[in-house]
């Protein structure tokens, strides 16, 4: 019991800080998505600050396509997070019987939601890149 409270206290202090985002070894893909969600979020904030400061500024051509990758990833993964927050596609709670057993919330239907989010990300990023690289230069 004492070990548990020490454990909780250690994590409440968040000693790992930002490096804790990247402690993804031996974790599931959701952990990677979490780290990527944070990084893309920060990058989008940096972009919108520049976009506000010099109104309408955007990096241009290939960089616009890269911006699209960042934004569409955040969007697609965000849809997955909203679904999970609202309790969709999480799966029924299950008693964990052995340490190696992974929670049902990342084993069952959540697998398909991850795949859906990644496919959606690729499709949206492709559409964005098409507009950034082909349509936007034609508009002048």
């Amino acid at each position: 019991m004492e070990a548990e409270s020490e454990f909780k206290e250690y994590y409440a202090k968040n000693m790992r800080g930002i490096s804790g985002w990247f402690k993804v070894r031996a974790y599931t893909i959701e952990r990677w998505l979490y780290a990527a969600h944070r990084i893309t979020g920060i990058l989008i904030v940096l972009f919108i600050l520049a976009h506000f400061y010099s109104t309408g500024w955007h990096p241009g051509l290939w960089w616009d396509a890269l911006l699209g990758v960042i934004v569409t990833f955040h969007t697609a993964n965000g849809i997955r997070l909203i679904l999970a927050e609202l309790g969709f596609a999480v799966g029924k709670p299950l008693l964990i019987k052995k340490p190696s057993q992974r929670p049902v919330s990342i084993e069952g239907v959540q697998r398909y939601v991850v795949v859906f989010a990644l496919v959606l990300f690729i499709v949206l990023a492709a559409i964005w890149a098409y507009y950034a690289i082909i349509v936007q230069p034609m508009m002048g």
Binding site: I42, I82, A132
Partner: protein, 106 residues
Amino acid sequence: MRESTIMFFHYITAILIAITGLIHLLANNEPVIGAVIKANPVLYFGNMAVFLAALLYHAFNGVRVILIEMVPDRCWTKWISWAVLIVGIVTYAVGLQVLMVALGFA
């Protein structure tokens, strides 16, 4: 406000950003649909007003969450929350002003 309420609005604004952000992108990058949106300045301005509000809430709350997670301290949480709120409101006011000048409303 309770942390769960703040996060609830975080998700609501996420959905709003997806809708209004799409309109914002179409208006500036899609030749046909963009012309229709830009022909209606009230729609364009209304969309931008909602988009800006939702985007600022979502972005500043995201930054706030990261900052208060870095330093788990009650006093720091309170100060950073107020600072983010004030900076957010000021940014929205300036942003609306810029928009209204650009679109000829002021």
